[in-house]
């Protein structure tokens, strides 16, 4: 669990809200990654893209298509926000897989902040766009009349649980992956030189974690898009 401890970068124990910590460092590195991929990589503005530019275009096209498919055409104007979330999460996850790194997305504070941002943004947007009609999200008109109040209660609860599951999913996945690797590394430490099996297991889990890092970022933003669709079109 030491890998998750927040430490001030320049010594001392006091952590104020402005203290530069390892959180600051690794978040700054995600910004550097975004800059390299999306500013330096697309510098050429080439018609026939370079490798790094085509990667940036691939990510752009992938997320844009997802936003459009899931949220609908009118959701496309929130694409920059979704893209920001996706890039931050995916780079934070991938940087967290480097040995001795700090995974900012494994902290509930970080993921909960993002999930709450999405939650409040979507709720306010839904109320502004649909007014009182936004409440029809909870009143499932296709269900039998008797069941509707019950379903409404369930829907309301599930609506307010959304940010919890949304945030814990990401943080939990990141933490779980790192903890599993840590456990196998502990086995390797105990076995010493002959630790073939734990090293093999660590490699396998690492590969899985690479996949999970990208998939969780994808899942986070796809759920944000689903919530966005609910806000834009509350009538199911």
């Amino acid at each position: 669990m030491e890998q998750f401890i927040v430490k001030p970068l320049f010594g001392g124990h006091e952590i104020n809200w402005y203290t530069p910590t390892n959180v600051t460092l690794w978040m700054a590195l995600t910004i550097v990654c975004v800059l390299v991929l999306f500013v330096l990589g697309t510098r050429g503005r080439a018609i026939v893209p370079s490798r790094i530019q085509s990667l940036a275009e691939l990510v752009y096209g992938f997320i844009y298509k997802m936003v459009e498919d899931v949220s609908g055409k009118d959701g496309a104007k929130y694409f920059p926000y979704i893209m920001t979330l996706f890039l931050y999460i995916v780079f934070a996850n991938l940087l967290g897989l480097l040995p001795l790194s700090f995974t900012t997305t494994s902290h509930a504070a970080v993921t909960a902040t993002m999930a709450l941002m999405v939650f409040f943004f979507v709720t306010i947007l839904g109320v502004v766009k649909n007014g009182i009609g936004f409440l029809s999200l909870f009143w499932i008109s296709s269900a039998p009349l008797v069941l509707r109040p019950v379903l409404a209660i369930i829907e309301v609860i599930s609506y307010f649980v959304r940010p919890v599951s949304h945030s814990i999913r990401l943080a939990g996945n990141m933490m779980a992956g790192h903890a599993v690797i840590k456990v196998f590394a502990g086995f390797a430490g105990v076995l010493g030189v002959g630790a073939v099996a734990p090293i093999f297991a660590i490699s396998a889990v690492f590969a899985l974690e690479l996949l999970v890092a990208v998939i969780q970022a994808y899942v986070f933003v796809i759920l944000a898009c689903v919530y966005l669709r609910d806000a834009l079109h509350p009538h199911h």
Partner: protein
């Protein structure tokens, strides 16, 4: 007092181990989602591409519950 503390810790560890069984449920759930997706995709491959996102959402929901049980285990181990 020491005995009580040990008992509490033992209970916490046992609870953590039990909580981890919940992850098996998540595994079953994820397997179910993906398996059904693939069997559907084999029946109608042309419709498969459009439902990949839905599958990932399904996986995310199923997996979240497993993560919750893992979280409970962690809380019992380290926070209680």
């Amino acid at each position: 007092m020491a005995v009580t503390g040990d008992l509490v810790q033992m209970g916490a560890y046992i609870g953590a181990g039990l909580a981890c069984t919940g992850m098996g449920g998540a595994a079953v759930g994820v397997g179910h989602v993906v398996g059904n997706y693939i069997s559907g995709a084999l029946r109608n491959p042309s419709a498969a591409a459009g439902q990949t996102a839905t599958m990932f959402i399904g996986i995310a929901f199923a997996e979240a519950l497993g993560i919750f049980s893992f979280l409970v285990a962690l809380l019992l181990m380290f926070a209680v």
